[in-house]
Amino acid sequence: MGLFIASLLRRTVGFALIWWIAAEGSLVAWPLAVIAVAASVAVSLRLLPPGKASAISVIGLAGFLGYFIRQSMLGGFQVARLALQRRPQLHPAILAVPLTLPQGLPRMLLTGTLGLMPGTLGVRLEDEFLHMHVLDRGMPITEEVEQLAAHIARLFGVQR
Amino acid sequence: MKSLELPLALFLLINLAAALIRATRGPTAADRMLAALLFGSTGVGILVLLAFVQRSFALIDVALTLALLAAISGIAFAQRTWGLTGRSRQRRAVEREDDHAFR
């Protein structure tokens, strides 16, 4: 129950913030805003029932975001470099890496985020392995996945 | 210093024109879909630039909406269409598809 209320509060604040941003700070029609936020929170609670996986730690988030932005910059640069090379140095392959994160949201986040990271793109998520397409087989793929998995584990506060 | 937004928008549009080559050439339907997705994300960029060029910030709402919904047609393509109406080789691939069981 407590978990539920905490989740409810967190999401309410979050959605209210989003509303506030979208409405550009205007609070003229606040009753509608209240209904809107309530509706979104309700939908959200229904689709993503509060549970362990959805409890996100703030510090973990900050760390994750920092890592993510840095990595995605790198990813962008890598692609730009490859694309603008006279002869793109591509050595693509589909690799499988073992999964250490628990089932559910963490794995999804991992797979999704990998798509934005340098050189990797999730292709198939299986029980134990993640198949990935990589641009360059020579890159340290496993390390990267490990790092990301660590960040995600911290974000959700889960054991690996 | 002249404002950078409009030239940049034009530049992005030229990018799109180039991407249209991919959309025309294919070869697979997915490649065309990729071009369409590129149009989506570049379109969002052009929209926000236009918002500043025209001082019409409602266009940011348009960009937001587009960003929010951009995924849907891509997903629909991947999950519902691709391979069903393509070349015969892909059709055979569909036949061995075991994902039907997924539902």
Binding site: - | L20, A58, I72
Partner: protein
């Protein structure tokens, strides 16, 4: 200035090229993708034409609903679908007069654009002049729901009518997804609440800036489509009566208010004091019912024992 012109000219060229590709590309799935591209470009055009309301509608519909509707429809046609090849030369001759007529029409239209008279009626000024008593501060919404609210009333009826027509045509049976991955449901779970919020936002925005019931409804419908694509929302069956009730309720609310305002001297004659509230009421009702209506275009399917479900699978 020249940059602007170059931008517009290039946009125009891209638009025409994508339109041409839509029609000329031999395979249907490509055509549909080109049409999606066309929709995106059109959104840019509308933005450039200072018509963000239309751009919003185009974006919401093109990205969310029309595209998926078309892609979904393609799944019904099992065969790859090139246009008929037979008698191309003959067909060209047969079509020659039509093509000539079309070219003439195009030439005439373009010529006519160069010699237009100045409009005798200044409608934008009239709109601006009466905006104060319309109940909303966004001129497009004022036109849409107050000055020309009657058009909108009929337009809602058209949408409901199309749904009725589709029910009359009969619904295809649901086909399983070709493939499903686990990421999409996660996306849906997190994005759909945002879409709901966005819909409310657009509804709220309509009163004083671009936005409105229809755009909001399109976003909601897109959310429903997304839910379905992630298997979180099964298809709707025609036996689910609430769908029809909700769709009908929006129109009935609109008609009801329109008729009630007759007492004040005219159909849809909003008293200036309450106009804002009444318009918001109508728009809220419409948002829900239009959303269900639009979503039903995509979601309504028959159960496998339905009207013509069996026939569809007989072609292999």
């Amino acid at each position: 200035m020249t940059t602007a012109l170059a931008f517009e000219a290039l946009l125009a060229l891209l638009l025409l090229w994508s339109a041409w590709q839509t029609l000329a590309t031999p395979q249907m799935d490509r055509a549909v993708i080109m049409f999606i591209v066309f929709g995106l470009l059109l959104t840019l055009v509308w933005s450039r034409l200072q018509a963000p309301d239309i751009a919003l509608a185009e974006a919401a519909l093109g990205a969310g609903l029309t595209g998926t509707l078309l892609l979904d429809a393609l799944t019904a046609f099992r065969q790859p679908n090139r246009s008929a090849k037979h008698g191309r030369v003959l067909a060209a001759f047969r079509r020659f007069p039509a093509l000539l007529a079309l070219l003439l029409l195009a030439a005439a239209l373009l010529t006519s654009l160069t010699r237009l008279p100045l409009p005798a009626v200044d409608l934008p000024a009239a709109v601006a002049g009466q905006l104060g008593s319309s109940g909303v501060s966004h001129p497009v919404t004022a036109v849409l729901l107050n000055f020309r609210g009657y058009d909108t009333l009929l337009e809602v009826a058209v949408l409901l009518l199309a749904l009725t027509g589709i029910l009359a045509v009969g619904l295809p049976a649901e086909r399983p997804l070709l493939s499903l991955n686990q990421l999409v449901p996660t996306l849906a779970r997190s994005a759909v609440p945002l879409m709901v919020l966005a819909a409310f936002y657009l509804l709220w925005a309509g009163a004083h800036r671009p936005g409105g019931a229809f755009q909001a409804a399109a976003v909601l419908a897109a959310a429903a489509v997304l839910l379905n694509l992630s298997q979180l929302q099964s298809r709707w069956l025609p036996t689910q009566h609430w769908i029809r009730l909700v769709v009908g309720a929006g129109l009935l609310l609109f008609v009801g208010i329109a008729a009630a305002l007759l007492a004040g001297g005219g159909l849809l004659r909003f008293p200036p004091g309450q106009a804002g509230l009444l318009i918001l009421l109508i728009e809220s009702g419409l948002t829900v019912s239009l959303a269900v209506n639009l979503a039903a275009f995509y979601l309504l399917r028959t159960s496998s024992s339905g009207q013509w479900a069996g026939q569809e699978d007989s072609h292999e």
